[in-house]
Amino acid sequence: MDKINLKKLINAREVSLFIVLILFGIFIQLRNPAFGTPKNINNMLINYSTTMVLAIGMMSVLLIGGIDISIGSILAFAGMVSALVIRDNPDTSVFVAIMIAVIVGGLCGLINGLVIAKGGVPPIIATMGSMNILRGLTYLVANNEWVAAYQINEGFKKFAMSKYLSFGLINNLIFIAFVIALVAYCFLKYTRLGRKIYAVGNNAQAAEISGINISRIKILVYTLMGILAGLSGALWVSLYASAQGDMGMGIEMDVIAACVIGGVSLAGGRGSVVGVLLGAITIAMLGNGLPLIGVSQFSLDAIKGAIIVLTVILNVLLQRQKLKNSLRRREI
């Protein structure tokens, strides 16, 4: 009995990824002891908190077999709108600034969802469109200018560096990322709506026959994605204390990579929050750790690509093994 459980545990995607991550961490640590210090881990998680938040949203989109490549643009647009409000009203509170970004992001996501669900446009095309539209709008609303550090109020700049949300325990941005992960975990695992998302991804036809309103689920996940992208926009502005028109450009690739490394299937229906978090941490470790051991920026992209392909091959092999095992059990 114990043996089977152990095998099951090792077969679990998250555990194998976790082991790989630990090994990778040890490898970096051996070459540069600065990596494992609490300070560096803290820096790394802060710098990649937006990637984590976005990856959790992207996972719900991938679960229904969709994709959203407009998140970088939603992040920029929502973050820029929020930054502009702060610039023009210096006493905007942190909460209001974040809510503005969340609402703007949510609306962008809702539009994505409507175009995909009601308009029947393939997700990659629909979000490619909004990616360009929103990027253009970001330049337009900002009138081609940046919002600089001195135009953002102290409270909002300090938000990314303080710990008050968790009463002094951990940094606000890391706290937000983990709370969102926890909420997403419970939502996807224990609520009806969450299970419906998996059902639609596994077999849309079957889900529809069983009475699930598919287009409503689609609109829901793209809106959620938009909300999280908007939130990331606000976090981005707070963290880097400025807003530029080109912020977050290309981040969708990092985020999709985090999901794929974390075991989310692009065909839909498969993936877990824990896996995605580990995937995002992999991306963070690559970005933070490789420069520490003297790997240049040029090799970084190639290494990132290689790791994605390798983990996916590993994933597929494990999956195949699992299927074989369950088939064998059925035969007996």
Partner: protein, 366 residues
Amino acid sequence: MKKRIFAILLSITVISALLVGCGKDNNKAPASGDQTNNEDNKGNEGSDNELKGKKLAVIVKSAGNPYNARQSSGFKEVVEAVGAEVIVKEPESATAEDQIVMINELVAQKVDAIAIAGNDTDALQPALQEAMNKGIKVLSFDSAVNAQSRAVHVNQAGTELIGQSLMEAILDISGGEGQFAILSATSQATNQNAWIEAMQKVMESDDKYSKLELVDIVYGDDEYQKSVDQTQALLSNYPDLKVICAPTTVGIMAAAKVLEDQGVTASVKLTGLGLPSEMGDYIGDGDDKSTPYMYLWNPIDIGRLTGYTAIALVKGEITGAEGETFVAGDLGDYTIVKAEDGGTEIILGPPFQFNPENIDEWKEVY
């Protein structure tokens, strides 16, 4: 099932290939922002009848960057003052392809002059030569196109002048000795590479730099997240680091934020080339500020000098040959000199220093 796995694998491979490919540059759809300024000049007093109805166009590197916007506004100010029409073109992404499309549009519109900040040294040659064959005066500014594609180039500051200024700053800030590192944009950025090379030459040329040690050159790709990673790595890897020099606007901003957030500004200082508005918060003398001073040229003046040069070319006062002189309004007298690439250029002047005394005034400007 096999088919499905294959399909998944295939799509992942394609996506990761895209990832690797897209990692560096911003592969954005080439849409073009186009601002044509058709405002009638309401009987401007200083109008030059010779230039009435002439159309002078400016193509910047890309939209969405205040630095580029200031260049075009300087150009506009000068050219509109003499009563000519200004056409400002801003490609959405900093690619040569977008600029070629715009050059062709301007040729079709029969403009009289095109001033361009080139996104590529050689790729624009066919389009620009075509324009010159049609009698259009072509000049480059900020980032040069090759010598065959232009009449003259307006250079913000000579490469040597920049290398010199940056090395002087490092020497001064470090107190004459110690480790320093460079945080650059991308490895392909022609500007940055030339400046870094010039810095290294300056370092070798004089004994007073012998106690300085360049420990590393890292690249943040002008992306915030990556620049933060690289700065943090510099701090971890070189505990004795005294100065970071970042000759790039995003890099210097990210580095300033990291140094101040990590609370190391008493021992590690920053200098380089940056936008005053973005760096306004970080420039100061105290131990809590990361940047004692930094440099940049004045993009408005680049735009204005480009405007004056374009006017002089259209009027026929100059042809772009070495040794010609002209008066650039209140900027003063300029002489056309030989450029390193075999063409000719006009040098605006040494980079401008932004320090605690003048930053409050400048951060409002650009």
